[in-house]
Symmetry: D2
Subunit: 252 residues, 4 copies
């Protein structure tokens, strides 16, 4: 299991408070640690950030990534379209993708769901309760019902996404909003999970239950079969005596 | 547009407080009035209750019903299985069905979704906020975002239903729960809408916005084409020169 | 992995030709053998037939079954409603269910999907080609594209089912029909797979690729977590200091 | 009802045989005529082609289009990304979009479904039978079962698309392939229909049944409510006494 945690790393690298209080080495560092602690030696967890060449997501890195986590907030529009296309291709070929928090309007998420990902929001330090809506889903295994997050930004419906395969979590906020906070999609061979809890201003990623959800999601999104994108393929006329499966293109 | 509002009529017929304070003539009477006021002379609204012969839902009544509303709470298990089968057949043939509040575990709902309809609940007079999750859905047209219900029983996730076609509404409650409070399904030719707001102990069905939702839902669930259940049909070998559509069985 | 192969065993027990030519010990025996050969010693495969007490599906048997396969054709209406309810409950609690061929109108399938399962059919010994529509689905792993079945009964659209989670296979027939021949659903904790190839008149279940599909489907449908039906549960008011998950009812 | 029929117009404008035999004035002209004949004076049908400035799809044209039809084959990669973004935005805001034949790998379709749209194909003049899989869907109203197309290019599964809302049509081909030939999606406020029958080499768009399907689809995809894209919106803290709906951005 090869995991890459990607972070825009904007707030932290600029030394913004309170981001650097909670995430002095960057949100990606805290998430990577949480995954390593839970997935153990079977997982190889690395990080990448936006300021690196090719945003740290070269073809080689993606080729060696089973599941990519994506955290971003302020600089979605500055993400290189070639890198976005590479991520989308990798998902089609089987790579898992976890979109975190403000990534609801990131370029890769929009490109994969085909919707705007728009939602309503306000930031007043509300209490968020994360309820399990699909108790049989592997991402919900062992997760408390609800997870209690004492201070968190508010996201609210309508959340402009296509009907998800599964609504795993639904959150309420002390101010009254409700939100589908954990939803899954498939595109090509790849599994996609959007999970809203987590913000640069609050220590959400330090909560053990949040780490548990992310580790469950990495396990769930890990491809279990051959990787590779199917391209539109010319096929021979059907001949019952010699029918076989056209081979897939090797994954990027 | 021919509408039948069905009510178990248990709490009201026994004179229970506070049910009879809010619904002295029965919940069905208040709902029927709300629909008549909104749908106007194009709609013919009648009521039926459980204590009537065949629960008021004879084959003749269902054959003249385009949309059936179903309110029930305490006596689900006493509903005649033959009437349930008749309702299910009518939905398959194109009749719309609106399931209200405790009807989440009614026999017709369970038979049509194939799940238990189980959920979590408590009754402490919470404030419910009903948020629109699908603003483009006809059932949400003109509905405030959110609807505010001052006093209401709490329903919570997990709600054991198959993935719905649309999650139209999601509610939060002042005690912190969240719930998919308006969801749609199709079965055969029929459209199904489950809507949780509404309880015998609170005057929810007197709220204008709730009446608006129900009227929108009746319009949406009204069949727009031929009625009739498709049965497993033997077909002739395909003959390109004379291919045609097998006729449907006439609706019940 | 504990598997039970259930068979109506009508044609075979009456000695009907050609059923007894292909399936002298019953279709269930051939399917059980195919599964044992593929799943190996990790699987315990047993069979049950309609003429046994409780159709061979006592609460004890179902409690020890991870995946149930259901083959039936002529006597759907004679299946005991109590046994049907028991099967449905077991699926809700996590048991996998594979419905085979004419089981498209069996009582358990109808009860779980909420539709009629009706389709069009004719029996002229057509060639069926079974194409993979979801190549990333575990049930399609290693399956030829297409599977070629030389002689088979024809099933055709429209197939009256709710929108499935996945269309794994789509078949064409030499006479021109097309049909969604492998579709999946979830209900409660249970996974459901309907697969149409297979008939008492043809040796379809002797084909290695068909055995491969069934073995893949058994693996896919095996519950990976706790068993148990969630019932509508009263919950205490939310108390952030002591929130926890209500326990599930033990599975049947 | 304002309809725009867009055509790449590559084969026809180059005078290629047999395209110009069947479509001397372009495929768009034949489709526009078929729609006008069926939709009558309530519809205003115009055409646009790729070689026009902005491909004939200026912001003004899209702002006056309720349903856009898109036919393209050879020059998908040359379509201006700004025009694609404009079409995608218009769909999110409520414009209906019909993708025809080779548009399965067009930029707008890929951008809206998030998948590759890949499929298998060969061109040998097969007979295609188009079967109705969802007889209650408005697009299937009055359509023969099956439509018989004597000569047509073959498309085959797997078709790399997300699970559609509805599979309206499934085709078989005389050579044995099967294909989901009519599928629907929603994105934002917009309705999307992909329909594969139709090719520059065959007179498919002259068949009355094909025109009927397209006219049904235009009626179905016409937006019935307000147009406008929801953007991520900051909301005020919830105040029960003054809750209201944030206004939508005006449609493009």
């Amino acid at each position: 299991m090869r995991v890459t945690v990607w972070n825009e790393n904007f707030h932290e690298s600029r030394g913004e408070e309170p981001a650097v209080r909670w995430y002095p080495a960057g949100i990606h560092a805290v998430i990577a640690e949480a995954l390593e602690a839970r997935l153990g030696p079977t997982a190889e967890v690395r990080t990448a950030t936006m300021e690196q060449p090719e945003h740290g997501l070269s073809a080689e890195v993606l080729g060696q990534t089973d599941v990519l986590l994506w955290w971003a907030h302020m600089r979605h529009h500055e993400v290189d379209d070639q890198v976005v296309a590479r991520v989308v291709d990798a998902v089609h070929g089987g790579m898992g993708l976890l979109l975190l928090h403000s990534a609801h309007i990131s370029k890769p998420f929009r490109a994969l769901i085909g919707s705007t990902g728009a939602l309503e929001w306000r930031n007043d330090g509300d209490r968020e309760l994360v309820w399990t809506a699909s108790p049989a889903h592997p991402i919900a295994a062992g997760i408390p019902h609800p997870i209690v997050i004492d201070d968190q930004e508010v996201y609210g419906e309508p959340f402009d996404i296509p009907a998800p395969d599964d609504v795993v979590f639904i959150s309420s906020f002390s101010g009254g909003e409700a939100f589908r906070s954990g939803v899954t999609f498939r595109r090509g061979r790849g599994r996609i999970f959007y999970f809203s809890p987590g913000d640069q201003d609050y220590p959400v990623y330090h909560q053990p239950e949040i780490g548990d959800v992310l580790a469950n999601a990495v396990r769930w999104a890990t491809p279990d079969g051959a990787r590779g994108v199917r391209e539109s393929a010319h096929r021979r006329p059907v001949d019952s005596s010699a029918l076989d499966r056209p081979s897939d293109r090797t994954a990027p």
